[in-house]
């Protein structure tokens, strides 16, 4: 009992006691963002202005979206840049991320290309420990993954690999056995297959 006798907590229950209406009720209301989590790939066309990257990154952080990779570059249009983001979340959460991106004045277009036919690539440079004894093995592996050796030294070499995130992951996994001294990945970039162009959609 509260000091001034107002409200015992057990008195709390007090139902609205509605009768179920005639028509079919929807199932228990779902809270968005609690579905199955997948990797999504978003492409954003943004104005090529200072600070835009900061705006995008700040929004993603503030709204707790989990960006895995982010690649930013020029396009053929001098006034716009292109960002490719990969992030994990359920469909609704990722759709929400895209809608939030649209709220930024400098964002022109956002597209979730996860289930579109696309060409998806990233580039990785992997500095691997390799000497006379095992250099051959490394080279064979690299070849199997269509990777190139772009630098060679007595005790190491640099492999340049391109491919989807999964392909690059696989090669890195195999090279790890030799000892990776240094690794850098560009983050995924994608482009839709066929004649359609997200850039053209932006041109007015």
């Amino acid at each position: 009992m509260s000091p001034n006798g107002q409200m015992p907590a057990d008195q709390a229950a007090n139902s609205a006691a509605p009768q179920a209406p005639a028509h079919t009720a929807p199932p228990a209301r779902t809270m968005p963002g609690h579905g199955e989590v997948h990797r999504h790939v978003l492409v954003a066309i943004v104005l090529n202005k200072p600070g835009v990257l900061n705006r995008v990154a700040s929004l993603m952080r503030a709204r707790s979206f989990n960006i895995e990779t982010l690649a930013v570059s020029h396009t053929d249009l001098p006034e716009v840049s292109r960002m490719t983001l990969t992030l994990r979340g359920d469909d609704v959460a990722v759709e929400q991320a895209a809608k939030q991106l649209y709220r930024l004045i400098d964002v022109l277009k956002v597209q979730d290309v996860t289930s579109d036919p696309t060409v998806e690539h990233e580039i990785a440079l992997i500095k691997v420990r390799a000497d006379d004894r095992n250099r051959g093995e490394v080279l064979t592996l690299a070849e199997m993954y269509k990777a190139k050796v772009v630098d060679l030294a007595a005790e190491s070499l640099i492999v340049e690999a391109t491919g989807t995130e999964a392909e690059v992951d696989a090669l890195i996994g195999l090279l790890r056995g030799f000892g990776i001294k240094e690794l850098v990945r560009s983050g995924t970039v994608v482009m839709s297959r066929g004649a359609g162009s997200i850039e053209e959609a932006v041109k007015r």
Binding site: P3, N14, P21, P26, R29, M31, I105
Partner: protein, 650 residues
């Protein structure tokens, strides 16, 4: 305006009323001390004089629409100096129809203040703290529907604005906040009063700008105002380096803004609107939840038409309060954590929930899985990101709620009130039950102590439910929304999303300046008033006749309430001292009145209303009164805690 008239002293437009009152009015005991004091501090140049009246009339004249595009050039003002960035700022404000703004000077904005006097059409209100300036701009915007403007200097001036900017962001209020910054060459050098203010405001504005070139000012201001007021409104921050303000500006003001990335959707999709109409036709227990977006869109008439045509009861969010006249038979108060029980029951039993311009805040929904369990939901919102953000909905419609309703109305069949008779009768019964309290109306809570709801109710009545009522945050805010009785759109102003204590007084100042034709009351708590009380001085200096109702419970009441109900009465740090409020008010030159019993309430309100200028009424209310019902955190709209009534002791 007019620093040149600095020595013009005026007679205070005073008028302590001699209206008989049983309320204590300490300084009105025959001495003219307060009047003298007001006269002395009344140094607004020329205010109250014929000269000032002429300037004011001229100012209004200059601001009529057809003259707006003919803003006088410097030459036409008889000036030979070059046009600099600061001039472009003044011109831009005038072009945007700004007639008043709230600012505070400092080093880097002095170039601006140096030219401001050349633009007497622009009224500058010198606030006492930049936070007050931002809230005043916010209150002005909400009361008028126009863009509010505030200004501060670099560093601390800019950071002081941030709370007000964040407040406007969360409540979708159109303001343009201007700050100065150090000269461009010093940016990033940790110069004196340099702070990365655009970095700070980035996540709490709709958009922001750092301007380093005088010639960018015309374009940036045109964009800033366009963004602030278009689509879902919000704050835009413009940071100007000192050299941008001082540099020669040759750029013209653009007639149109070109923002390829900013194209809000106004028209609802016709197919969705058809579905909307079909849902209404099918529904047996429909309810409309009217949010702030209805007020923003100026869709209050369309809302009423829809309600009447299809006989649908209307409930409100906190920020939707005043969207529908509360005396209308289909208008049922606000929902949510501290909303009306009958309104919450309406939602919980509805088969169709029509959400108009509201964003399903967690104070509205409570535990989402139990929210509106039988309802299909139609959600109309201008911001696509709001749809499906907090609650999954069946019929999403992106668009301006006014245009959507205009398109919808012809497709909605006229419903015979008879066919809803049972439904409406049931709600009426719920309402009668939930509005019943043993003290509501009697004025006394326990043991004859003054009941806060009674005070608020009397203020509403005294002002004929036509005053703009601006709340602070806490229990006072909930009492204001529940009991004042709102009839006119935008007559209720409240800090909903950020819940900013200290909002009430400065926001009321802005609202009163924006709507001088309406009486303005600030309903504030003793905690909140102590956060921005210095704006009392601005009220006096600028003759802003805000009436302040201080609901003093000597407590951070809302905190105390939670401690009582959730933290087993562990009242840590919720008791606070306040000053002698009447003396404080008098010290500022504000008329002060006191009421401690129900009998004193009416006369004290009358006395404050009779003052020609600001006045404060110190209501000593019960210290332990809580706001009920209350939805505990994590619970749903059907789990309301309610007051346990006692027979009032007399």
């Amino acid at each position: 305006m007019g620093t040149k008239e600095g020595d013009a002293r005026t007679v205070a437009r005073n008028g302590r009323s001699s209206t008989a009152t049983t309320a204590e009015t300490p300084a009105s005991d025959g001495t003219d001390k307060a009047d003298q004091r007001r006269e002395r501090i009344n140094h607004t140049p020329g205010a109250g004089t014929e000269r000032a009246a002429a300037i004011e009339a001229g100012r209004r004249e200059m601001l009529t629409d057809n003259l707006r595009n003919q803003i006088k050039s410097l030459a036409e003002r008889g000036l030979t100096r070059p046009r600099i960035g600061a001039d472009a700022v003044c011109e831009a404000l005038l072009r945007q129809g700004v007639e008043v703004f709230f600012g505070y000077p400092g080093g880097v904005v002095l170039p601006f203040y140096d030219v401001l006097g050349d633009y007497p059409e622009l009224r500058h209100v010198l606030v006492r703290h930049e936070q007050g300036g931002a809230h005043a701009a916010d209150g002005y915007a909400r009361a008028t529907g126009k863009v509010g403007v505030c200004l501060g200097t670099s560093g601390p001036g800019a950071t002081n604005l941030v709370t007000g900017i964040g407040n406007a962001q969360l409540d979708s209020v159109p303001i343009v906040a201007i700050t100065g910054n150090v000269v461009g060459s010093l940016l990033g050098k940790d110069a004196f009063q340099e702070i990365d203010i655009t970095g700070i405001t980035l996540p709490c504005t709709k958009h922001n700008y750092l301007v380093r070139e005088a010639n960018d000012i015309p374009r940036v201001f045109a964009e800033a105002f366009h963004i602030a007021r278009t689509g879902r409104p919000g704050p835009v921050h413009v940071d100007l380096t000192k050299d941008a303000l001082m540099g020669v500006c040759t750029a013209e003001h653009p007639e149109v803004v070109d923002l390829p990335g900013f194209k809000p959707t106004f028209e609802g999709h016709p197919r969705q609107i058809r579905l909307f109409a079909q849902e209404i036709a099918k529904a047996r227990r429909p309810v409309i939840v009217a949010g702030h977006g209805v007020l923003i869109a100026d869709a209050t008439n369309e809302l009423r038409e829809l309600a009447e045509k299809a006989q649908i009861p209307v409930v409100h969010t906190l920020l939707g309060v005043s969207a529908m006249d509360e005396t209308h038979p289909l208008s049922f108060g606000f929902v949510g954590m501290h909303g009306w029980k009958h309104a919450n029951k309406l939602i919980q039993s509805a088969d169709l929930l029509i959400a108009l311009g509201m964003r399903f805040d967690d104070r509205v929904t409570g535990h989402v899985p139990t929210f509106a369990p039988y309802a299909r939901i139609v959600h109309v919102d201008i911001d696509p990101a709001e749809i499906g953000k907090n609650v999954a909905v069946e019929i999403p419609i992106v668009g301006d709620v006014k245009r959507v309703l205009v398109a919808l109305l012809p497709q909605v069949a006229q419903v015979d009130p008879e066919s809803r008779a049972a439904y409406l009768a049931e709600i009426a019964e719920w309402r009668a039950e939930s509005e019943k309290t043993p003290w509501h109306g009697s004025g006394a809570w326990r043991d004859g102590q003054l009941s806060a709801d009674f005070v608020v109710c009397k203020i509403g009545e005294a002002s004929n439910h036509d005053a703009t009522i601006v709340a602070d945050v806490g229990q006072n805010q909930m009492w204001a929304a529940r009991y004042a009785g709102f009839r006119r759109p935008n007559s209720h102003i409240s800090s909903g999303g950020l819940g900013t204590m200290g909002f009430g007084l400065p926001a009321a100042m802005g609202a009163a300046i924006g709507r001088p034709d309406k009486e303005t009351w600030a309903i504030v708590g003793d905690g909140g008033l102590q956060m921005t009380v210095q704006e009392l001085m601005t009220l006096v200096q600028d003759h802003v006749p805000v009436k302040i109702a201080l609901l003093d419970n000597h407590k951070l009441g809302m905190v105390r309430q939670w401690q009582e109900l959730v933290y087993a009465g562990n009242y840590h740090s919720s008791h606070l001292l306040g000053p002698d409020w009447i003396k404080l008010a008098e010290a500022y030159g504000v008329a002060g009145f006191r009421a401690s019993t129900p009998e004193e309430v009416g006369p004290a309100i009358a006395a404050a209303r009779a003052v020609d200028g600001p006045a404060l009424v110190h209501f000593e209310i019960a210290e332990q009164q809580n706001v009920f019902p209350m939805m505990p955190a994590g619970k749903g709209l059907s789990d309301l805690l309610e007051e346990q009534f006692e027979e009032p002791k007399q």
